[in-house]
Amino acid sequence: MTVLIAILVVGLISLAFGALLGFASVKFKVEGDPLAEQIDAILPQTQCGQCGYPGCKPYADAVANGEAINKCAPGGDDTIKKIADLMGVEPIAMDEAHETDNTPKVAFIIEEDCIGCTKCIQACPVDAIIGTTKQMHTIIADECTGCDLCVAPCPVDCIEMRPIPQTTRNWQWDLANIPVTQID
């Protein structure tokens, strides 16, 4: 008899707590993952796919779920540091497989070689290539993010990545990087 009472009491307690948790899970439901959205805001939005994910948002979701934070080549060490700050982890070095030199580049189509196959247009994530079938294509340099996704699909290798030359118009003072030390 006492055993039955014990079973009944513990069962009732469990049932009450289960109901409470069920109610709480509806009441405190988290819509979306706020962390993923914050990470997405940090990523450079080149949608280049060099991290192995289809775009910046899927990579942000993956990072929120524990993917390594060092796979964003366009963002570089700066982005890694920001994500590390946000997630409260130590910044780590850029993944070697994803390491690139981060000099800004734009794609350039050698127009005399272009056969007008439109393959690069389909690959471009930011619609920076104009042209049509059997017509020569060209790149809108201002729109190009330098993700080099169009280089591989070109059958005649007429696309190359050219570094953006430094001019007085795009020169940036890197004042924070000038080492200032106190001399005793």
Binding site: T2, I5, A6, V9, V10, I13, S14, F17, L20, L21, A24, S25, F28, K29, V30, D33, P34, L35, Q38, A64, L86, M87, G88
Partner: protein
């Protein structure tokens, strides 16, 4: 009133759960590398401990004792604590995603923080009444928070300190914890219960 105040001070300083009773050492060592995380953990644990000691008192007094089912105390208390922790996890997830991320696995692990079960069981052993149980739970958590935050602040300083090579990392943390425990022994006799 004085009794309650003495109970509070006695539990925070004299019978500190971490440094004198040696309960809850896992989060004490695990979540103490950053002050920010330690403060978050302190809040979560305080919430859980107070609520768990309140609920377990109610369950013990109004369910287990009248039916003379005291042999089920430990099991029932574990159930109560697990529920409170789950509840806390949901609230933290909803209110602060960063804190949820930085606490990580240690949040669900409050379930297995022996200080929480310790408070609930000590309440029944020492026959605390309702208010005493809540104060005991709260002050135990307060003592836990106090040493956790102090310890994490020290560990942040130690990260930059010139520590001899064999003592680097966990070794110096253990030694620091031991010294803190010794220091807390100095409170013995401050409050007579």
């Amino acid at each position: 009133m004085t009794d309650y105040l003495l109970l509070l001070i006695g539990t925070v300083l004299v019978n500190n759960f971490v440094l004198v009773k040696f309960l809850g050492l896992c989060p004490f060592m695990g979540v103490s590398s950053k002050v920010e995380t330690a403060i978050g953990m302190s809040f979560a644990t305080t919430f859980v401990m107070t609520l768990a000691s309140l609920l377990s008192y109610l369950v013990d007094t109004y369910l287990l004792e009248p039916l003379s089912l005291q042999y089920l105390t430990t099991m029932t208390f574990i159930l109560v604590i697990a529920v409170v922790v789950q509840f806390t996890e949901m609230v933290v997830h909803k209110t602060s995603a960063n804190l949820y991320r930085s606490l990580g696995i240690f949040l669900p692990l409050i379930t297995s923080n022996c200080a929480v079960l310790g408070v609930a069981l000590l309440n029944t052993y020492e026959k605390h009444n309702f208010l005493e149980s809540i104060i005991y739970g709260f002050s135990a958590a307060l003592g836990f928070s106090l040493v956790l935050v102090m310890f994490s602040a020290m560990r942040e300083k130690l990260a930059n300190a010139d520590v001899p090579k064999p003592f680097k990392g966990s070794a110096i943390a253990m030694i620091t914890a031991g010294l803190m425990s010794l220091a807390f022994m100095g409170f013995t006799g401050l409050v007579k219960l």
